[in-house]
Amino acid sequence: MVLTGAEIVIRCLQEEKVDYLFGYPGGSVLYIYDELSKQDKIRHVLVRHEQAAVHAADGYARSTEKVGVALVTSGPGVTNAVTGIATAYMDSIPVVIISGQVPSAVIGQDAFQEVDTVGITRPCVKHNFLVKNAADIASTIKKAFYLAKTGRPGPVVVDIPKDVSAQKCEYDGYPKTIAMRSYNPTVKGHQGQIRKALGLLLEARRPMIYIGGGVVLADAAEKLTKLARLLGFPVTNTLMGLGGFPGTDRLNLGMLGMHGTFEANMSMHYCDVLLAVGTRFDDRVIGSPEHFAQEPRKIIHIDIDPSSISKRVRVDVPIVGNLADVLDDMLKMLESSGDRSDPAALEPWWKQIEEWRGRQCLNYKFSEEVVKPQHVVETLWKVTQGDAFVASDVGQHQMWAAQYYKFDKPRRWVNSGGLGTMGFGLPAAMGIQLAHPGAPVAVITGEGSIQMCIQELSTCKQYRLPIKVLSLNNGYLGMVRQWQEFFHGNRYSESYMSSLPNFAKLAEAYGHVGIHVDKPGDVEGAIREAFARKNELVFLDFQVDPTENVFPMVQGGKGLTEMILSAEDL
């Protein structure tokens, strides 16, 4: 049948079972928006800024196993979306972004609202396309979804010039399959390597399992948990890996890295066999690679992306493959051989770990006078019984959320780990809430981050999204202030914000409920009230201790064991 390019776009998205499309209209996408209005399978969510459209699609993808989709116009629509695209790229999130482009005939002539979308987005996408003919739209969209969700996932941009979306052409259905000779991600791990890895693990006396966001993305949490419990090995997770192994399990030593726990960082450094799963040894995780290399240990690294292996740390047993498949193979080999680790041989290691754990590095001084930010997160965990979806912004509050909210399930913790994008939390929560209607969704943010996408409170009103925003308001760009206090002689250059709005009233102005909390005794009541208001967005503005810092801390460039545990260590 003969259809226009825009009709084909909508059909393809329907075929991909897209239920929500986050976007913002503009000149170059008018034909697509016109078609959108003629159907009701795909629901469009009108954000207030294109950055939020991509973050919302990203939050949708992170909290489900599906691809998030955004639609933006050419020029500023695309440049606004770039922060969202780069955020998804750094955390390997499957998102497809469809952008309008100026008409083919004027591309390159500095037309109104023209940017080189393919050029601008190239370094922060898994792949991108400029579609030159309507006849190529269906196969391109098929490729885009396939690329976004297979292998190491990532964002894919499909740029469609306005005339192409108007052009008529023969449409003979959405392709069922797609084959690309240049793209064939490895799925199965090398059996010999897997056997070798198991041999090392069973011989280990000081083993450690270190998991990253890959475990969550590959939906391998269940298998990983089974393996760790079967072996009885300690587990640590990165910021992205929270929920990949239950946070309340005794085997879990908590997050590692710059703001990781004492026990996780010490165990990571002194283990003799390290099993790294779906993770990339990044600078915030292992500190200085030279310091990390001072202790000898055998490293097994499982990852879907060969370029993540031996990038920063030399690996002894690399295994490239889909984590769920590789872990499944490991479990099957263990089951069929009956081999098990020797608990008695691990006892001295566990004794050492418990000693480290005994330092209780996450203890903080509770106060009757001023609200402690850690207390807010702990209370949120208590009130939601550890079962909420938590989206976070970036800064001190993000670290406290990661340290004090114990995630037992994957895909409950949604944050910008790699790029560290302030403003991510609220729009991401919109995507989460739409994907999980009725589920408790909280945003942990600060007065700095929330103002970077606060306009989305308007979107939340339009689509009746009952998100609970917990803003840890300390009047400072807290993480910047902390670094200035520690490393820049207490010179708080531009990290103090004056003239903050009355956030409770601001929330009310948007049509929501706003509550200001400044007494520690009111914290729990306020959070309970917020979640009791099932159909309303509640903005909780917590006035917290402005001097509180995130501990433990490994200074940039230092070794993992060189931790600052409290203010006394400074």
């Binding site: 190239r122 240049s182 793209y183």
Partner: protein, 165 residues
């Protein structure tokens, strides 16, 4: 230790593929000594030769990152084994009076060809390894050189080693 490597790749002959490769090198701070690219006998594929320098770890990352590009079909470090490298140079030199004869002789010694002649100049075409072309440039009087253009290195493996899909 930074070693010289010659990396050959087959990539989809599509607009933008070249900038994905060159963008990767600049974004990740890898160096490019030379880069050549042209379509192959299969018009849907281009073959690229990149000469780069780096430690073993860096070059391993370069090949992995190149492989990760969706447009890249195959990557081989041909300098890992016996291989052939050639580069083309065209050099325009001043050729007047007795220098005219001398320049002709030098071109012959290096097995070059004179492909353009004017009253006062020659264009000499020379093919060979980078070293050979460098030696020619060093061997002639620098003040006589009007302009040079070099293609960059292209190469392939010797014997049974074939880069094909």
């Amino acid at each position: 230790m930074d070693m010289r490597h010659v990396i050959s790749l087959l990539l989809e002959n599509e607009s933008g593929a070249l900038s994905r490769v060159s963008g990767l090198f600049s974004a990740r701070g890898y160096n490019i000594e030379s880069l050549t690219v042209a379509p192959t006998e299969d018009a849907s594929l281009s073959r690229m030769t990149i000469v780069t320098r780096g430690s073993d770890e860096t070059v391993e990352q370069i090949t992995k990152q190149l492989n990760k590009l969706v447009d890249v079909v195959k990557v081989v470090d041909i300098s890992e084994a016996a291989h052939i490298e050639r580069e083309l140079m065209m050099i325009k030199v001043r050729a007047t009076g007795k220098e005219r004869e001398e320049m002709k002789r030098m071109a012959d010694i290096f097995r070059g060809h004179i492909v353009d002649v004017s009253e006062s100049s020659y264009v000499i075409e020379l093919t060979g390894t980078q070293d050979k072309l460098d030696s020619f440039v060093a061997a002639i009087d620098a003040s006589l050189v009007l302009e040079t253009v070099r293609s960059g290195v292209c190469g392939l493996g010797r014997g049974d080693r074939v880069l094909k899909i």
